[in-house]
């Protein structure tokens, strides 16, 4: 009987691509995802027609895996269209690993695109009968409730949260593809428009267009790929916690504790081993909770950890090195970009923001208001 650790390093990311970062003009969500997919497949040296596993979700398409497959002219034999928000794309690494290692497919394509900024189309979502009368400003209000509780329990301050936005900006300033690169200070964040206390507009992610794609194959099947430096999947973990913020059992502890533990166990590594961390930072409080829940600082000490400068450029923990959803890009769902930045770092291809000698990366995707969590640990050849 196989167990999770048997799957460690069974598959590799052999191609990555992006498209339409920032403002994509007239290209729609599927156009963007297809461009990113083509670039990722070119990067891998694999033809589009060889894709036989598709992994995608969308806020605008009812059956996005079908729309995507038809558009690309492929006829997959494996599909995962699971929709658990922005964590979906990090979770797809797990299902792609299972599908590839059992030969349910040979070339797995994970892709996502959104023209959220230019298209201004409403997302496909339902409202909750028992929440609508209280007029939460979604998606901000649920995160604000978590932030307010963390401040109440642990004495975290708005300045601490602001330090997270400022750290993200410091990395974005090293990334030519980042959407927001102008200087940002703690005071700028504190003085920006309040949206849902304690979160102001600078505690919130960007609204941009953009697309990303990844190609995975079984490790060592180099005949399928000319990629010079494949990045290996060492560990994966998921957790589905709740659907509505009012049903979250502890507003200051997310399911990242569980998804992270599962991923660390499969990979056989600990938080202290990780060289670079990429998390889905929809809001500053997201980064704070994930730093704690993924084991980079003790519960309740996230405020102190970020205040001490640990996550900005030059800090002890390279964190969201592309600028994250707060400063790089946020096209509706950010999850896939945690993986794309980790691949750039592990390939040594991250330019001015390259973390020297990065061999182990942790990627973490969040869905909705801390409702679902997915963690993936990636490594270079030397980590196998």
């Amino acid at each position: 009987m196989m167990g999770p650790t048997d799957l460690r390093a069974s598959v590799s990311i052999v191609g990555a691509g992006t498209a339409g970062f920032g403002v994509a003009g007239d290209l729609n969500s599927i156009d963007l995802a297809a461009l990113a997919a083509k670039r990722a497949l070119d990067d891998a040296g694999i033809a589009v027609k060889d894709v036989d596993g598709i992994f995608t979700a969308s806020a605008y398409h009812f059956m996005p895996a079908l729309s995507m497959s038809e558009y690309l002219g492929i006829r997959p034999r494996f599909v995962d269209g699971t929709m658990v928000g922005g964590s979906s794309f990090v979770g797809y690494v797990q299902s792609a690993m299972l599908a590839l290692s059992t030969h349910q497919c040979d070339v797995a394509l994970i892709c996502y695109g959104s023209n959220q900024r230019s298209g201004k189309k409403p997302a496909l979502t339902e409202s909750n009968l028992h929440e609508v009368p209280y007029q939460p400003r979604n998606p901000i209000t649920p995160f604000a409730l978590a932030a307010a509780r963390h401040m109440h329990e642990f004495g975290t301050t708005r300045e601490d949260l602001a330090a997270i936005a400022v750290a993200a900006r410091s990395w974005a300033q090293l990334n030519p593809d980042a959407f927001s690169r102008e200087p940002l200070s703690i005071a700028d964040v504190l003085n920006s428009k309040m949206i849902s206390t304690p979160l102001s507009v600078r505690d919130c992610c960007l609204v941009t267009d953009g697309a990303g794609a990844l190609v995975l194959t079984r490790r060592g099947e180099t005949s399928r790929s000319k990629a010079t430096s494949p990045v290996h999947v060492l560990g994966t973990g998921l957790d589905l916690a709740h659907r509505q913020i009012s049903q979250m059992d502890d507003l200051t502890t997310t399911g990242a504790v569980r998804s992270g533990r599962r991923a660390y166990e499969m990979a056989g590594v600990a938080p202290a081993d990780i060289d670079v961390v990429q998390v889905y930072d929809a809001f500053t409080i997201s980064s704070l909770l994930f730093l704690e829940d993924l084991g980079f600082c003790p519960k309740g000490e996230g405020g102190r950890f970020v205040r001490d400068g640990n996550i900005g450029v030059g800090g002890s923990l390279p964190f969201n090195t592309n600028g994250g959803g707060l400063s790089c890009c946020h096209p509706g769902m950010y999850g896939i970009f945690t993986l794309i930045e980790a691949v750039a770092q592990l390939r040594g291809a991250a330019g001015a923001r390259q973390v020297a000698g990065a061999e182990l990366a942790l990627c973490h995707g969040n869905g909705g208001a801390f409702l679902s969590q997915a963690t993936v640990i990636l490594g270079t050849e030397s980590t196998i």
């Binding site: 009968l129 028992h130 009368p133 209280y134 939460p136 209000t141 849902s196």
Partner: protein, 128 residues
């Protein structure tokens, strides 16, 4: 005459009680626990036997936020998660929670108030 299934579904029953001026939640007949939002089985033990039971309306503010007005001169409003003394948590509002005073941890009591075409729970701070 057979009642329409729509009017007897768990959500509809909850709202019907609210419209009549009382808050009732489902209470499991197997494990005795209250649960919310309404559903056809107990999320604690999966029993499908439950009774609609009145609640005290007493609770504690577990967390709160104040949502800024969409227009500069608008009033804004609070959104709370209230921990009911019966166990369940729910989203709610309170006129006593402001942008500068979230009142987290304070004891509250529910008032049923009309909202748009229906009713909702608004919570007042309990004088100690």
């Amino acid at each position: 005459m057979k009642e329409s299934p729509v009017s007897t579904g768990p959500d509809a029953v909850y709202l019907k009680y609210l419209g009549e001026g009382t808050a009732h939640l489902q209470r499991c007949e197997e494990c005795d626990r209250f649960f919310f939002p309404p559903r056809v089985l107990c999320p604690h033990c999966a029993s499908t036997s439950y009774k609609w039971s009145p609640i005290s309306g007493k609770g504690t503010i577990y967390s709160s936020t104040f949502v800024s007005p969409a227009k500069e001169d608008g009033p804004g409003h609070s959104v709370l998660i209230v921990q009911l003394e019966e166990g369940p948590r729910l989203l709610a509002t309170s006129p006593d929670v402001t942008a500068t005073d979230g009142k987290i941890g304070e004891k509250v009591r529910a008032v049923i108030e009309p909202f748009q075409s229906g009713f909702r729970l608004s919570f007042r701070i309990e004088e100690s």
